[in-house]
Symmetry: C2
DNA sequence: GATGTTTATGAAAATCACTTTCATTACCAT
DNA sequence: ATGGTAATGAAAGTGATTTTCATAAACATC
């Protein structure tokens, strides 16, 4: 899996005439080893712990590149932080977010997706993407 | 309807031991007369046109109060602006957002809501709220 | 109505989370 | 090794809030 993502990125780099750098490799390594939903800040702190010479701006720019390359996706949970999640080919999922501890669980539901398409169609919209988040208490926080 | 909302707010003010002020009345008036999705900036500009003496901070703080009082709700469409929409008792709706012109259409779909509850339940979550936005091209922008 | 205590307001400063700038480095195809 | 780009890091800049603080308005209570 990691191998595939790395290839995806190096191909992207090559295709775009960009350069392969130590920093990008390092950041990709940390991103792939990370939880599925990281803010720039979170990833930056993890990276900086081992590589104090890598700056925030580089992490920021590299994450944008990952998104462009198709191996990450920006998401917003309304807490003022942009997060990046891993993208796996052909996979789309939505989120359950715990309002107490912040736990994020992913889920997929084809039936809901189909209904969304119908709603859009009935309003004459042509859907590109969607976002669905369910906020509440996770099993642990319900005690 | 407006009457009900005003009472809701004045009751809230009283309950919290806050004060009724000319500014708050004015801002509420403009909010109730507005489109359903206003950013702070948009409402501020509308208010300022008639009441140049009311500051941005007051609009900002008052909108937060409306949300607390339950007559407005904060929403984010990922464009970096916090918007406030009207809350009507017992009503929940989701949004279709045009990615070209920004048009926002509201919709409700009980079947989807039910499926969301089932998803949540299957993961042991107790849902408080949810957010669902479908992004794409509106009929006009599809040409 | 005057007064005293609180809360509210407006202007300006401060925050926050990015984004961009720019002088300096690092890549990499000769 | 070298010349031409692209990348990096530190710092400055942005945009949208959010907070601070001196002043003004409410709302009891005289």
């Amino acid at each position: 899996m990691k191998r595939v993502k790395k290839k995806l990125f190096s191909d992207f780099i090559a295709r775009k005439g960009l350069k392969s750098t130590r920093q990008r490799d390092t950041i990709l390594e940390f991103f792939l080893a990370s939880d599925r939903h990281m803010s720039i800040e979170e990833l930056y702190l993890k990276v900086r712990a081992k590589h104090p010479n890598i700056g925030y701006a580089t992490v920021y720019r590299t994450l944008k590149l990952f998104a462009e390359a198709g191996l990450a996706r920006e998401i917003q949970f309304g807490d003022g932080q942009t997060r990046y999640e891993h993208v796996n080919e052909g996979e789309h999922h939505d989120h359950l977010v715990c309002t107490r501890c912040g736990t994020i669980v992913e889920f997929e539901n084809p039936v809901i997706e189909k209904l969304q398409d119908e709603v859009a169609k009935s309003h004459g919209f042509l859907i590109e993407t969607h976002k669905m988040e369910l906020y509440g208490l996770c099993p642990k926080c319900r005690k």
